[in-house]
Symmetry: C2
Subunit: 303 residues, 2 copies
């Protein structure tokens, strides 16, 4: 199988869709890239692209997207509720198939250097690609957003970029990283009391003593309390465990789950794992999945 | 995509594995066939093969398997707990991809004719391929097994074969049919009281007022009560609905489900559907499954 990397860059523009389309075109212009998804959120004033391809192609497409966004998005005029430090705010590489995390880390570091040296934009390495340990946490890196970073970048050695100048221009800075596949997933409760969602989020998320590999916030969405989560390693803390933990917590507050939603992509395996757990299929073997066996047979040319 | 049919023939030999291997070899000898699975049960004295391929190849492989088994299995000496009427006892065709049920029915009828005319073996058409309505039900067709059919075939017009002679030789008769994908699935209870499993099976199965497209039996397996089921249309009655119905019934008897098991293959979609239901993903869109999108991109040559 051909090696595949995924890139899920976030850009600080979710209202002027002509700009988003130009970034999308820059990605699509690279041969060997499949753009799987892109969406823009006007409240957050932010857009997310998801594309996959061979490692070299993905690295090149990410660079062109960063370059395009830097020329079109002016962070000094940016408004939006989401914390952000740059036009190309975060650029994570994700190993999908026949690629190691180390290769994604190397790709992130090469891209960060290129952003710093060729585009003259400060670049920070985060998560698995971080060189400075405290930068593994993206929230730490983005704290205070563009304005705070602009004020501190030249004077605070803690905020010096890994690559590029210690000066923040209109394109801001870019956080470039490598991470595992992530599941963004929200659970809605039958209450309009956002405090309940906040308390559940607090008991669920790892940072306040909850489940490993879970980030959670309590939000209010269209009049309904929502526990909004990122599962950063579903192979360790699976979706079904999180769902049932939220359900149990909700019960303590006399609430129930009305429904849940996935934002963006989910790895097929996470759904298979959930089905097997709920259906109590202890001895399940993935060789039993008809379509997988058919695909194997097809890939070997048997049929 | 190339059209694909599945064939899941059952043979009345599960002990002499050299014979089973010869049947397997006959199938494998046909170009364009992928044998996905085969297994033998010595108690039932029965073997099941699962293979897929283009319609013509599958039809030919099924014929060769029937021919081979007829020369090696002597039904006059057959012992085993499973009801059966022939060496190649049942031969169902299943539409998998870009094939209609009508094409599987046509394949079944051509194969039945060939079994009757070329092998001189009585052949009956069942399920979707049935010409006589009462033969849609395989249980009806096999009632009394080989001995009863041998006694009645020449004299009882109700039992006259659809193709071939009204005489039963050592190879017996073959039931050839077409059906949808089937899920064979067993749920184990925390009791050694088989009566509870039988009562649950009775309330679950369609034939006694239960869920449509569900066949169920209560059995005792290694000292544990088991509800053994065939789901004959999981798109209408999904696995998770059956699992939760069994759980509810078990609760009435003060029992719980300890685990469940799948026998043979399961369509991927049945697992995805179960995951979405349990995770309450009402607005889920299959375009969100990462690997599917990647496969689509690969099939169009984009990456």
């Amino acid at each position: 199988m051909k090696p595949l990397i995924e890139c899920v860059p976030n850009f600080s523009e979710g209202r002027r869709l002509d700009i988003v389309e130009k970034i999308v075109s820059a990605v699509r212009g690279v041969p060997g890239i499949a753009l799987l998804d892109y969406s823009s959120d006007p409240d957050h004033n932010r857009s997310v692209l998801t594309f996959v391809g061979a490692p070299g192609a993905v690295e090149e497409a990410a660079f062109r997207a960063v370059e395009t966004s830097a020329g079109l998005i002016d962070m000094t005029r940016h408004e939006g509720v989401h914390p952000c430090i740059g036009a190309a705010d975060v650029v994570p590489f994700v190993p999908i198939r026949d690629v190691t995390m180390g290769e994604c880390v190397a790709a992130a570091r090469r891209l960060a250097r290129r952003i710093g040296e060729d585009l003259n934009i400060p670049a920070y390495l985060y998560e698995e690609a971080a060189i400075r340990l405290e930068r593994a946490n993206l929230a730490h890196l983005r704290k205070g957003g563009y304005a705070r970073l602009k004020a501190d970048i030249a004077t605070d050695p803690e905020r010096a970029p890994d690559f590029g100048p210690a000066v923040l221009g209109p394109a801001g800075a870019a956080a470039v990283g490598a991470r595992k596949k992530l599941i963004a997933y929200n659970v809605f409760l039958d209450t309009d009391d956002v405090e309940i969602a906040r308390k559940i989020a607090e008991s669920i998320r790892h940072s306040s003593g909850g489940l490993p590999y879970v980030k959670a916030l309590g939000l209010m969405v269209n009049g309904q309390a929502q526990v909004s989560m990122n599962l950063v390693d579903y192979t360790q803390t699976p979706v079904h465990r999180v769902q049932e933990a939220v359900r149990e917590q909700a019960g303590h507050f006399g609430c129930q789950i009305t429904h849940a939603e996935l934002i963006g992509m989910i790895p097929e395996q996470a759904l298979i794992d959930a089905a097997c757990w709920y259906l109590q299929l202890g001895g399940f073997n993935e060789e039993q999945i008809l379509e997988r066996r058919i695909r194997q047979a097809e890939s070997t040319g048997l049929i």
